[in-house]
C-alpha cells in the first residue's frame, strides 16, 4: 500500500486554484521533500493530505480518506505545521500529560528521554521558551509518537543554523527507521539534500518534477565549462546554463557523464540548482509534468 496516493487532486479558494490536478504516489519508508516557490501550493497540498481542508479528486493517505476520516488518520499521522503552534500558556509537563492522555501511540518515556538532552525544564511554560526550544519540544513529542507518516511544514523556519542542523540529525538518527514516511517542505533545500530519498517540485498547483534522489544523482549532471568549450557543451542541449566567474555552469539531463567530463569539471547538482533549472525551463516542466 502506498502511503500517499493522489489522482487529479484539486483545490480552489474562490477563483484561485491552489492545487491543479495533482497526481502523486509516495511509498512507505521514503523521505520526500516537497519544494516550491511561495504560493506554489505546498501548504495547501499538506493541509489536504492532513485532512485539514476539503478537496476534489482522489486522495488516500494510509488507505484512508483524510477529510472524512481525519480523526482516525491522526492516530497514524503526525505533523508539525509551521513552527510555534504549541499553545503558549501550556507547561511542558502539561503538554506531555495531555498527549499521553489522548494519544494511544505516544511513548512518554521516549519523549522524556529526548527532552533530557535539552535545557527545557518540565515546569516552564511554552511562552518562556526560546523559539528553538519550542521546536525541540515539539519535535521531541512528535518523535515519541509511533506514527506511520510524519508531515513537516517548514519545520525549521526562523531557527538558527545550529538548531536546524540538530533538528534534521535528530530526525534521521532517532526517528527514521525505514518503515516510516516523512514528508517535508522547506525553503532551506540545502539542509535536506542529504536526508531525502525522493524529491518533488511543485509550482502553481502542479507537480513539475518528481524523482528519487538516486535517479536524480544518476540523471542530472552539472558541468563547469571553460569559455572556449561552451559552444560544444551547448550543442548537447543543457537544461539550464548560468554564468559564474571564469566560465559557465551547464546542467544536463541524461547526458553521458564521460562525454561531459571532457568538457570540464563534472558534479551532481544541488537541489537548489536543479530547482532553479526546472523552474526556469518551461519546456522541461511541461515534459516533467507529463512524466
Amino acid at each position: 500500500m502506498a502511503c500517499i496516493e493522489a489522482r487529479g487532486l484539486r483545490k480552489a479558494y474562490g477563483t484561485t486554484i491552489a492545487l491543479d490536478g495533482i497526481n502523486l504516489r509516495v511509498e512507505e519508508g521514503r523521505i520526500l521533500g516537497l519544494i516550491g516557490p511561495n504560493g506554489a501550493g505546498k501548504t495547501t497540498a499538506l493541509n489536504v493530505i492532513l485532512g485539514l481542508t476539503p478537496y476534489q479528486g482522489e486522495l488516500r493517505v494510509l488507505g484512508r480518506n483524510p477529510w472524512t476520516e481525519r480523526y482516525q488518520l491522526m492516530r497514524d499521522v503526525c505533523f508539525i505545521a509551521d513552527v510555534a503552534v504549541l499553545p503558549r500558556w501550556m507547561r511542558v509537563s502539561q503538554a506531555l500529560d495531555y498527549v499521553t492522555g489522548v494519544h494511544p501511540r505516544f511513548d512518554r518515556a521516549k519523549a522524556e528521554g529526548l527532552l533530557a538532552k535539552t535545557n527545557i525544564k518540565r515546569t516552564s511554560r511554552v511562552r518562556e521558551l526560546s523559539k528553538g526550544m519550542v521546536t525541540q519540544l515539539h519535535l521531541a513529542m512528535v518523535m515519541a509518537i509511533d506514527a506511520k507518516l510524519l508531515v513537516l511544514d517548514e519545520p525549521t523556519l526562523g531557527l538558527d543554523i545550529l538548531y536546524r542542523k540538530q533538528f534534521y540529525d535528530s530526525l534521521l538518527n532517532d526517528y527514521f527507521d525505514r518503515s516510516r514516511t516523512i514528508l517535508v517542505t522547506t525553503h532551506q533545500v540545502e539542509e535536506i539534500q542529504d536526508i531525502l530519498t525522493d524529491l518533488m517540485f511543485i509550482d502553481r498547483g502542479r507537480i513539475v518534477f518528481d524523482c528519487s534522489m538516486e535517479e536524480m544523482e544518476s540523471r542530472y549532471v552539472e558541468v563547469m565549462v571553460h569559455p572556449e568549450q561552451a559552444a560544444a557543451a551547448r550543442a548537447l542541449k543543457p537544461m539550464h546554463e548560468r554564468q559564474v566567474f571564469g566560465g559557465s555552469i551547464l546542467l544536463f539531463d541524461r547526458v553521458d557523464r564521460e562525454q561531459l567530463a571532457a568538457l570540464g569539471d563534472v558534479r551532481t547538482p544541488s537541489i537548489a540548482d536543479l530547482f532553479v533549472a526546472v523552474m526556469g525551463n518551461q519546456a522541461y516542466r511541461a515534459q516533467g509534468a507529463a512524466g
Binding site: L50, L52, R70, Y71, R75, P87, R91, G101
Partner: protein, 310 residues
C-alpha cells in the same frame, strides 16, 4: 548513541503494544476538559476572588456591626431573619454573577483563541475529534462552572456561618438564633437546583450561541455575538412594531419560570416545596432551549472542521 541502537530492536514490540492500547473517548474528553482548566484558570480564580472579597466584607461587618443592624436585631423575627440571611444570599448571588460572566467570556474565546494563536494546528495534529473538543469546551459552562460555583459558594457560606458563630460565642451569646436563620443545608440544596436548572440547562442555548460565534468570527467575537441579536430586535420593531424577540431574550436571560421564584424571594425563605422541578422538566421552554443549544453545538463542531488559524 548506544542506547538508541538498543532501542531500535524493541520498537516493533512497542508499536504492537501501542496499537493494542485503545483510548476510550471518555478519557480523551476528560483530558480535554483538564486542558481547558489549565488554559482558563479564571474558571476557578474569578469565583475564588469573589469569595475572598465577600469574606473580607463579611468579616468587617461581623466584627463591627453598625448601630442600624444592632437596632434591627431587636426587631421582630421576620426582619431579623432577613437581616441575618441577607449576606448569605448576597454571597451566592455575587459568586453566581462572577461565574456567569466568566462563562460568557470563556465561551467567546473558547473556539476563537485557538485559531488566533494558531494552536489549533497542534490540537488538530492529535487524534481528538472536533466533537470531543467542542463538547469539552461546552462542558465548562454547562457542568464545570455550575459545580465550581456550588462548591465555592457552599464553602464561603460555611466560613461565614463559622465566623459569625465564633464572634457570637466570643461575646458570650448563643448561636441558636443564627443557626435557625441560616439553614445551610437547605440553602445549598436550593443553590444546587438553581445552578443546574437555570445556569446549566436553561442557559444552555446562550452558551451554545456564544461558542458558535467564537468558532465562526474572525475577530471581535463579542460584537458578532451581540449585534445580530440587536439587529433582529430592531428589524422586528421597525417592521412589525413588536418586540417578541427582545421579550424572548429577556425571558431566557431572566431564567424562565423557575428563575422568577429565585429573584422574587431569598433562597431559604421560600421552602424547597415551592420549587417545581417536575413542571420545569416538562416545560417546552426548557426543551426548545436545549434543542437550540444542541443545534448551535452541532454547527460549532462542523465549523471547527473547516476552520484553521486566523
Amino acid at each position: 548513541m548506544n542506547s538508541q541502537s538498543n532501542a531500535v530492536p524493541e520498537s516493533p514490540l512497542e508499536s504492537q503494544v501501542a496499537a493494542a492500547a485503545v483510548i476510550p473517548e471518555t478519557r480523551r474528553l476528560y483530558w480535554s476538559v483538564r486542558r481547558e482548566l489549565w488554559e482558563s484558570r479564571s474558571i476557578y480564580i474569578a469565583p475564588l476572588a469573589a469569595a475572598a472579597l465577600i469574606l473580607a466584607g463579611f468579616l468587617i461587618r461581623t466584627i463591627h456591626p453598625s448601630d442600624k443592624m444592632r437596632a434591627a436585631l431587636a426587631l421582630d423575627p421576620a426582619q431579623q431573619h432577613k437581616l441575618i440571611e441577607q449576606p448569605y444570599n448576597f454571597a451566592a448571588l455575587l459568586i453566581m454573577m462572577t461565574t456567569f460572566i466568566v462563562a460568557v467570556f470563556y465561551c467567546l474565546d473558547a473556539l476563537h483563541g485557538e485559531r488566533r494563536d494558531r494552536s489549533i494546528l497542534f490540537w488538530k495534529s492529535l487524534p481528538v475529534s472536533d466533537l470531543t473538543t467542542v463538547l469539552s469546551k461546552a462542558s465548562i459552562p454547562l457542568v464545570v462552572l455550575p459545580l465550581v460555583t456550588f462548591g465555592i459558594t457552599v464553602v464561603t457560606q460555611g466560613i461565614m456561618l463559622m465566623l459569625s458563630s465564633a464572634v457570637l460565642l466570643g461575646s458570650g451569646q448563643s448561636v441558636a438564633t443564627l443557626w435557625t436563620h441560616v439553614p445551610l443545608w437547605q440553602m445549598s440544596l436550593m443553590l444546587l437546583y438553581h445552578l443546574l436548572a437555570i445556569h446549566a440547562l436553561w442557559y444552555a442555548p446562550i452558551y451554545g450561541w456564544l461558542l458558535l460565534v467564537s468558532g465562526w468570527a474572525r475577530r471581535m467575537a463579542f460584537l458578532w455575538a451581540a449585534l445580530p441579536l440587536l439587529a433582529i430586535g430592531i428589524v422586528e420593531k421597525i417592521a412589525f412594531n413588536t418586540s417578541h424577540f427582545a421579550a424572548l431574550l429577556g425571558y431566557r436571560m431572566s431564567g424562565g419560570p423557575e428563575g422568577a421564584k429565585f429573584t422574587a424571594g431569598s433562597m431559604s425563605m421560600d421552602p424547597l416545596t415551592q420549587l417545581s422541578p417536575g413542571q420545569f422538566l416538562i416545560s417546552p421552554g426548557l426543551w426548545i432551549g436545549l434543542a437550540v443549544a444542541a443545534l448551535f453545538l452541532a454547527a460549532a463542531v462542523r465549523l471547527r472542521r473547516y476552520r484553521g488559524p486566523i
